[in-house]
Symmetry: C2
Subunit: 102 residues, 2 copies
DNA sequence: AACAAATATTAAAAAAAAATGATATTTGTT
DNA sequence: AACAAATATCATTTTTTTTTAATATTTGTT
């Protein structure tokens, strides 16, 4: 085992940076925070409470969905979002790898 | 205290998303990983070991520096980088807020 | 069936981030 | 002083994200 020593393999690396990207936006953190505070909540509540555009909210939710960070449950007209805590936890090693080393 | 319930204030929110942004790139995670594995290391070692362009490496290091994630110590010709574990730890709440809730 | 509410999708424009290639700066060496 | 090594910076182009505004889709209601 010689040469470059890399702890992360490429896949793990890309996976984590994707999650980081999903979180790397103030509005998305805000939205996540809001969903978290409500356990599960529909889109209208999110954007009206946070005073965001419907469209923007929907698009950011899509990004969070694609990253696996949240999931939706459709209930009639309403789309109810919730956080996939396990996904965040699984991907958090990208950050937590450095925690506790200070 | 009525209306929108927000756990994060704007400043905290922007601060965390900035850190997330710094981490939201595969090369930067790779570079961080490499520095971590070597405790402290100069730029040439980083980019030659990881087979990256000097310029790219330098620019990514700058982004990490700006975010406070790493710091440099100049020693003659060499710029020696190391990780600011405490900064990462401080900012990790943006992720870790959701950890342990699954 | 017509309509409104809730949400998503899309197209276009604007802004930000990344990559590329070249040049500049600093320091150590001959 | 000239030169090379180490690193940073800069300008340009390319790519990706974000925003904006409009339209489409689905479902529930009258």
């Amino acid at each position: 085992m010689k040469g470059t020593k890399v702890t992360f393999d490429s896949d793990k690396l890309n996976y984590s940076s994707e999650l980081m990207r999903a979180l790397a936006h103030p509005l998305r953190l805000k939205i996540l925070d809001y969903i978290d505070n409500h356990k599960s909540i529909n889109v209208n509540k999110i954007y009206s409470s946070l005073e965001l555009e419907q469209s923007i909210t929907s698009q950011h939710l899509k990004i969070l969905r694609m990253a696996g960070v949240v999931s939706v449950e459709v209930s009639g007209k309403f789309h109810i979002y919730q956080i996939n805590y396990d996904v965040i936890e699984k991907a958090s090693f990208a950050v937590n790898r450095f925690v506790g080393k200070a």
